[in-house]
């Protein structure tokens, strides 16, 4: 058995840590490249969203590298009618690949449990008692590593916007993530993490006051820089601190529905959009709107709404957000992401948006 998983920002560090600690063989997905995207585009319907194409490409590359078991995060309706993960599975079978499939439910309910139970039946036989025994430690190690990665990314987002040389922050971040990834055990992971955070915090500052925006939208697009065309980094280089609406750990906590605090937070967010949305549109739509409203109320300088072209829930959110923008007299930047060759256009829009934010804040943009 060789397990593989999708590329999703720094999530591979989490998955890798679990597999490694529990002693399960794994294949790391190759970094997403133009080739990955081409595989996805070639094998799916043209109107399918970019995240699905890229994840499909990741899996094909991993299968070619010798993986035989795919672990995928499931999603609820109405994103691809709740069939997001299963569509990938069907396409891969059509392409002639032989593999086993395990869905980690996006939301833990009975249906998800049954599906998971069915899929895991054969897999469970291949795991040895020692794998099982090490599993709790593996989960904790993975979780800790992920929290450190996310903390590091958050610090980097702040420092990039204020650094004299943002490139320096990028390179320390890359090194830091690598150090956390290769750290052996929880204690050395913590030391690698805190060392990297310290290194990033100590870069030379530009002295310019940064702007602050929140990036809302479709989960994969918000989290994976290869899908959102590095919006977070691009904005950072323009002097903007980007806060994401989704971090991987956050999504797990939301899906698991165990933390009271997270549940309360979600409920409170939904209250904010009562005037705009009366029921749950599905996926992250309501929360995209809610987080935008919250950011406006909390005095952020901007809201960037990223979503893949043809994404149904977020297209709805975009329409609502434009009404929100009018009501609050607050410009919200929608970024519809589709293809790589849009980079130039994205730069233009981000730069213009930064000019507008500067003008609103300081009365000048130079």
């Amino acid at each position: 058995m060789k397990v593989t998983f999708p590329n999703l920002g720094s999530m591979y560090i989490f998955c890798k840590a679990i597999a490694e600690t529990a002693g399960i063989p794994y294949v790391l997905p190759r970094p997403t490249s133009i080739h990955t995207r081409e595989i996805g585009e070639y094998s799916t319907n043209e109107s399918t969203c970019l995240p699905l194409k890229i994840i499909l490409g990741n899996f094909v590359e991993a299968l070619e590298d010798g993986a035989d078991t795919i672990v995928m995060i499931g999603s609820g309706p109405p994103c691809r009618l709740g069939m997001y993960d299963r569509i990938i599975k069907i396409v891969l079978r059509d392409m002639g690949y032989d593999f086993r499939w395990l869905t980690i439910p996006g939301i833990f309910n009975l249906q998800a449990f049954l599906q998971n139970h069915e899929e895991a039946r054969i897999l469970r036989k291949e795991l040895s008692p020692s794998n099982y025994a090490r599993f709790p430690v593996a989960i904790i190690t993975g979780w800790k590593k992920m929290l450190w990665c996310e903390h590091l990314e958050k610090v980097a987002a702040i420092m990039r916007a204020t650094a004299f040389n943002p490139d320096e922050v990028d390179s320390i971040l890359a090194k830091g993530l690598n150090a956390i990834d290769t750290a052996d055990g929880i204690r050395s992971c913590a030391s690698a993490g805190s060392k990297a955070v310290e290194a990033i915090r100590s870069v030379k500052k530009s002295g310019k006051a940064p702007l602050k925006v929140v990036m809302v939208g479709e989960v994969y697009t918000v989290m994976e820089p290869c899908i959102n065309m590095d919006v977070e980094r691009r904005l950072g280089h323009l002097g903007v601190i980007v806060e994401r609406s989704s971090y991987f750990s956050m999504n797990i906590l939301r899906g698991a529905r165990v933390s009271r605090k997270v549940l309360r937070e979600r409920k409170r967010l939904l209250e904010l959009v009562k005037g705009y949305l009366q029921y749950d549109v599905g996926a992250e739509c309501n929360f995209s709107v809610a987080e935008a409203v919250q950011a406006i109320k909390r005095g952020y300088d901007g809201v960037v709404h990223v979503y893949p072209f043809s994404c149904m829930p977020e297209t709805n959110a975009a329409a609502v957000l434009s009404a929100v923008g009018n009501d609050f007299n607050f410009p919200i930047l929608p970024l519809v992401i589709d293809r790589q060759d849009m980079e130039l256009r994205i730069d233009t829009m981000l730069e213009a948006y930064v000019d507008i934010m500067r003008w609103r804040k300081d009365g000048r943009f130079l």
Binding site: G325, P331, V336, D347, T348, M349, E351, A352, I356
Partner: protein, 324 residues
């Protein structure tokens, strides 16, 4: 070129279809010259033509500062050596506000993209730009005029001569073209078809680009498509507002860039645009195999020597972190 004062500011807008240059007198910021040429897929050559025209004046003017804009702004800035690089949205706003102080809405339709900019107190407050769809931009009009065998410049007049525009689907250029051919084949006169095209283009713009944005008067129309009177008429009919066409519509972006060049304070780089006339410039590309990304790195040669690299995601070439 007419008489040019000795010190000037210039703005260069390298767009997808055309390259524009505006020359401002450094003392009174009056526009003394403007250039509007086709990029023809080669910004290097079009930029060189612009530089040649500028250098043709005697005595050769001194450029106090230069700024670039448009989709080719980074390349142009590299070639003329300036650090004042600005997106089209901001430069168009600067030009519009200078032309019409009280402007509230700017409609801009260029070669490859169309934008709407909402202005308040002399600065952009909100904007939208076409994203995944190119329907309703100048290059489509261009393409259709050459298919119909007419000049794109005459399209507006022909459209105005129609009282009964044919319904043309405007959602997508491919369907619009199919629809136009169909209308042609059943014998609908050309002026009605062209007027119908203008109508559907404006409808598409208002539905997709300007969706959710409140259009308030005064409205100023910029970009190359503003030359088309049929489009202007449609905008007036469909929005119900008087649609002013900027006197500098074609070069508005370059004008804004030139104004920006005059505003930037501090140390400025030495203008090296005239060197383009003497040197032999060439661009090629190679695929970097250092990682999985496989970037097509672009390389600028001057007299056979590579002087600049870009388009590498990691910056290994462009920042010169490694020996090439």
């Amino acid at each position: 070129m007419a008489s040019v004062s000795s010190e000037i500011f210039i703005g260069i807008d390298v767009g997808s279809v055309t390259t524009k240059m505006v020359v401002l007198d450094a003392d009174n910021l009056e526009m003394v010259d403007s250039v509007y040429i086709r990029t023809s897929g080669n910004p290097l050559i079009s930029l060189r033509i612009a530089m040649k025209r500028l250098a043709g004046t005697s005595p050769r003017p001194t450029v106090r500062a230069a700024a670039t804009t448009g989709s080719g702004r980074n390349l142009a800035a590299r070639l003329i050596n300036t650090s004042i690089i600005k997106n089209e949205i901001t430069t168009h706003t600067l030009a519009a506000v200078k032309t019409m102080k009280e402007v509230r809405t700017i409609l801009e339709i260029g070669g490859q993209d169309s934008k709407i900019i909402i202005v308040k107190d002399g600065m952009a407050r909100d904007f939208a730009m076409n994203t995944v769809c190119a329907a309703g931009t100048g290059s489509f009009l261009d393409q259709q005029s050459s298919r119909l065998g007419i000049k794109v410049e005459d399209m507006g007049e022909i459209a105005l001569s129609s009282d009964n525009p044919a319904p043309i689907s405007g959602r997508c250029t491919v369907f619009a073209e199919t629809d136009m051919i169909h209308k042609q084949q059943i014998g609908i006169p050309m002026n009605d078809i062209i007027a119908g095209l203008c109508r559907s283009l404006v409808r598409n713009y208002l539905n997709s680009v300007a969706r959710g944005k409140l259009i308030t008067a005064p409205v100023l129309f910029q970009g190359g498509v503003a030359a088309n009177k049929g489009i202007v008429r449609e905008f007036e009919e469909q929005t119900g507002h008087k649609c002013h066409v900027s006197p500098y519509y074609g070069v508005a972006g370059a004008y804004g860039a030139a104004l920006l060049a005059s505003m930037v304070e501090g140390k400025r780089e030495e203008f090296r645009g005239f060197e383009m006339l003497d040197g032999n410039y060439r661009i090629d590309s190679f695929v970097c195999k250092k990682c999985e990304e496989r970037c097509s790195v672009l390389r600028l040669y001057r007299d056979g020597k590579p002087v600049s690299f870009w388009n590498d995601r990691c910056g290994i070439y462009s920042t010169g972190r490694s020996a090439h």
